[in-house]
């Protein structure tokens, strides 16, 4: 069978962002081809914690996340497939006065945007997650937003991909894009291992490999790869629904619907370089910290532990929108460890731009050009 050789839009990457875009663009009537070098969810999406949080330190991220949650809430119905959304809240631990000041500032800002969020004391912490040891984790308080939560990253992405196909999109797995084709300063298509596909628009949603894809179009991205490790335990009776996180310790963990505890933490002994193997030091540091937070979990065995990469931009915010030098080259990367939760809104904005030419202040705020010459406002509420 010959591969399709023409399309309105080519999307590089079959993660949550690529698949969501494929669905939305196809729904708008565009001829879409999505190319994935391995299989759907083989990148960061299939390795992530899939937490969905609206408690951010910048107004823009908070707004993006809040809009995304509104979309997530209706997504199962829209796609005709259960994405496994559960809104059990995010409990963000506050350890000291300095963190308290930041928490107060954040909560105040988040409330002006209409977010249901509050600062809670140790009794309330114990009510929400009874197994926590408030003393052990050195908490003085926490912030809590009950509509935060998580979804199943596989189900979400497969649901998008299936819906995209129904809308007429073509999805080709095991088809790496070798090069983006250009004519003068405009995109002309892509070259794959199976031949060329002509298209006036190419979306770079290749996750941590976006830098490489952009290079083939002569674009230099500031993104950096960071190895991240994550683990899951065996099942145990459901005890809590919230995601517990601490910016200071870097830990995050939650209990999945089926009873597993899933979580991660940065490895204090992390080495430099593009390393993909899991480390023994992670598992030790993770279990030590986890047991300080929730001592009874000591009886649980870890059943899996794997690595993935954060694709980190200089200000830890995504990079989206059309390139200002190469026409038709669309950025959709730099998610810095929160690309699952922001995907609904980010891909909606990009769809409206590609299909209808609609711009938005967000696109400007998240453009690649923001790094040129200006001082950057870094997102500080980052874990993992």
């Amino acid at each position: 069978m010959k591969m399709k050789n023409k399309a309105d839009v080519v999307i590089v990457g079959g993660g949550v962002n690529g698949c969501s875009l494929a669905y939305q663009l196809a729904k708008k009537g565009l001829d879409v081809v999505l190319l994935e070098k391995k299989y759907i969810c083989s990148g960061a999406t299939g390795r992530c914690g899939a937490g969905i949080r609206q408690q951010w330190s910048t107004k823009e991220n908070t707004m993006l996340a809040m809009e995304s949650v509104k979309i997530f809430e209706k997504l199962s119905r829209e796609l005709g497939f259960d994405i496994g959304l559960r809104q059990g809240g995010y409990l963000i631990v506050v350890h000291d006065k300095k963190e308290m000041r930041q928490a107060e500032k954040n909560v105040e800002m988040q409330k002006t945007l209409g977010l249901d969020v509050s600062i809670i004391d140790s009794d309330e912490i114990k009510e929400i997650v009874p197994i926590l040891d408030v003393k052990g984790m050195h908490a003085i308080a926490a912030t809590f937003c009950p509509t935060d939560g998580h979804a199943d990253p596989f189900k979400t992405t497969f649901a998008y991909a299936m819906a995209a196909k129904k809308e007429g999109a073509t999805i080709l797995t095991h088809t790496p894009v070798i090069r983006v084709l250009k004519e003068k300063n405009a995109v002309k298509g892509v070259k794959t291992n199976k031949g060329e596909i002509k298209a006036p628009v190419v979306v770079n949603a290749a996750g941590v490999w976006s830098k490489k894809v952009a290079e083939t179009a002569g674009i230099n991205l500031p993104n950096q790869p960071y190895r991240k490790e994550i683990m899951v335990t065996e099942r145990i009776k459901p005890m809590f629904e919230a995601m517990v996180i601490s910016f200071k310790d870097g830990i995050y963990f939650s209990q999945q619907d089926e009873g597993q505890i899933l979580g991660g933490i940065p490895n204090p002994h992390e080495r430099k370089g593009y390393l993909t193997d899991p480390t023994f030091s992670f598992i030790q540091h993770m279990s030590k910290t986890l047991l300080r937070y929730a001592p009874p979990l000591g009886y649980l065995r870890v059943i899996r532990h794997w690595t993935g990469f954060y694709d980190v931009s200089p200000d830890a915010r995504p990079i989206i929108g059309e390139d200002d030098k190469v026409k038709g080259f669309i950025h959709c990367h730099g998610f810095s460890g929160h690309g699952f939760m922001l995907s609904p809104m980010v891909t909606k904005l990009l769809t409206e731009y590609i299909a209808d030419g609609k711009t938005s202040p967000f696109l400007e705020w998240l453009s690649l050009e923001r790094f040129k010459g200006k001082t950057i406002q870094k997102e500080v509420s980052v874990v993992g």
Binding site: E234, R235, I236, P278, F280, I283, L291
Partner: protein
């Protein structure tokens, strides 16, 4: 359900132990696992499944699956099929989930072991590998998750085929005993039983693994292992078959049933339907008869019997019908198997209407092949390929049993399903090669050549065909890679 009289085996039941299931008092014997003791008392439901609340019980008998998980002395999700029974132990069934215990968790400090060679798996391949390497002067750490060394040999009561050098004519249990004794004599082999190697980790030099050792009080200790070379001799897992009712207690792996009978002296049931007529299906059927258990039928999907003729003739003589071109359609029962329906199959395994038959039985034994255990091995990054004749996915390896990752070797069923005799030879080759590499010595090719010749002889016979094909394919794909 305990076997009292057996033509070959004797079961040592000297020390009686008291234990509790959901608070009810029962008795077992020292040397039994918790699963075996429960089984002997007629308890076949160990837990309930998460989604549909189906009963779950024993299945593989060697710690490879999660069917037998129970709460033991408060510790959740314990694999009772490889956990020894202790006096006074409290066992609880798990209803979809286990509870966390109230008691405070006792943490053991992590320990670190450095060794020349790590051998994972103490079956015929691992035992032979460890012995060979130790003879050449390297320090060996030999790890197995079961309470006894010997792998599948410890349940094989029949006399082995193969060559005299590889102990043909001897019973599997006796081969295991001989190898165990030799291992005990070697000072530079350190053995860890009831210990599982669970993960491969990043390491700047050498190789790094995590291991967990199960202690007498059922708590666990963590070890960080560092080694220069490693031999994976992890054996194989039994295949499952898809049919309605296949998750009922009473549907067991044939190897699992063999373990229960021949290691612990416990009968799996009263009347068995055997699915599969390969050697495993035939031999286990005969062993069931020896344990005074009825075998209703042996059904075989293919038009002809898969195993050796001597084995088939033996069970036929005992009056067990072997139905070729037949398969199991369904298992039925409430809390456990009460019967099965079987039928004749035509081309493409389609069931021929009107040939369905009801079989009254309380046990269904699946002897439908083995799959190499490569999950741990694959973490090393060794190149894995699907080779049908090898039984599934296996690591590419060269003649010296080294994989595409330097210092990582394979041997035995884990490198392609064959037999104990070939497993022992592959173990010797891997042990020899690893030892020479560690010692940084030039190869003395003489003993190696002998082992290779012996292997070829074994694979030359009519029953070596599959193994030979598998190894040929692996060799071709290996050289394509270079």
């Amino acid at each position: 359900m305990r076997i009292k009289k057996h033509p070959i085996l004797e079961f040592d039941r000297e020390k009686k132990l008291r234990f509790y299931i959901n608070g009810k008092e029962l008795y077992g014997y020292e040397g039994e696992t918790i699963s075996a003791a429960l089984f002997a008392n007629g308890v076949t439901t160990f837990s309930r499944s998460l989604k549909y609340n189906h009963p779950r019980g024993f299945f593989c008998g060697i710690g490879k699956c999660s069917s037998c998980l129970m709460t033991v002395n408060g510790i959740p999700n314990t694999r009772t099929c490889i956990t020894p029974l202790k006096d006074g132990v409290e066992v609880k069934t798990q209803d979809a989930y286990a509870d966390l215990p109230e008691t405070k968790h006792k943490r053991h400090k992590k320990k670190v072991i450095n060794t020349d060679l790590l051998v994972i798996g103490g079956g015929p391949a691992g035992l032979s590998a460890a012995l060979e390497a130790a003879k050449h002067g390297v320090n060996v750490l030999l790890v197995d998750e079961n309470p006894i060394l010997g792998g599948q040999l410890i349940k094989q009561t029949h006399k082995f085929f193969g060559s005299r050098e590889e102990k043909a004519g001897t019973r599997g249990v006796e081969i295991a005993q001989q190898l165990r004794k030799e291992v005990e004599k070697q000072e530079n082999i350190r053995v860890f039983l009831k210990s599982t190697v669970f993960g491969y980790y990043e390491c700047e030099q050498n190789h790094c693994f995590g291991m967990v050792k199960r202690r007498e009080d059922y708590t666990e200790e963590i070890y960080e292992l560092h080694c220069k070379s490693v031999i994976f001799a992890c054996g194989a897992m039994e295949n499952m078959l898809a049919f309605p009712g296949n998750d009922l207690p009473g549907v067991y792996g044939a190897g699992g049933v063999q373990t229960l009978m021949n290691v612990y002296g416990v009968k799996p049931g009263r009347r068995v339907l055997m699915v599969g007529s390969g050697n495993v299906g035939l031999i286990v059927s005969y062993q069931l008869l020896q344990a005074d258990v009825d075998v209703a039928y042996i059904v075989e999907g293919l038009p002809k019997i898969g195993g050796y003729h001597v084995h088939a003739a033996k069970v036929r003589r005992c009056g067990v019908p072997i139905l070729t071109s037949h398969t199991i359609v369904e298992a039925y029962g409430n809390e456990r198997v009460e019967g099965a329906r079987i039928a004749k199959v035509g081309k493409n395994w389609s069931i021929i209407p009107g040939t369905e038959m009801d079989v009254k039985c309380d046990t269904i034994c699946l002897a439908v092949g083995l799959t190499p255990s490569i999950r741990l091995l694959s973490q090393t990054g060794a190149e894995i390929r699907f080779i049908r004749e090898a039984g599934g996915h296996v690591a590419l390896h060269n003649k010296n049993m080294e994989t595409t990752v330097p210092g990582v070797y394979v041997a035995g069923d884990g490198s392609g399903i064959e037999e104990a005799s070939t497993a022992m030879l592959e173990g010797k080759i891997a042990g020899f090669s690893a030892a020479y590499k560690i010692k940084n010595k030039a190869f003395d090719s003489k003993p190696l050549k002998l082992y290779h010749e012996e292997l070829e002889r074994l694979r030359d016979g009519p029953f070596g065909v599959k193994g030979r094909k598998a190894k040929e394919k692996i060799a071709v794909q290996w050289s394509d890679k270079r």
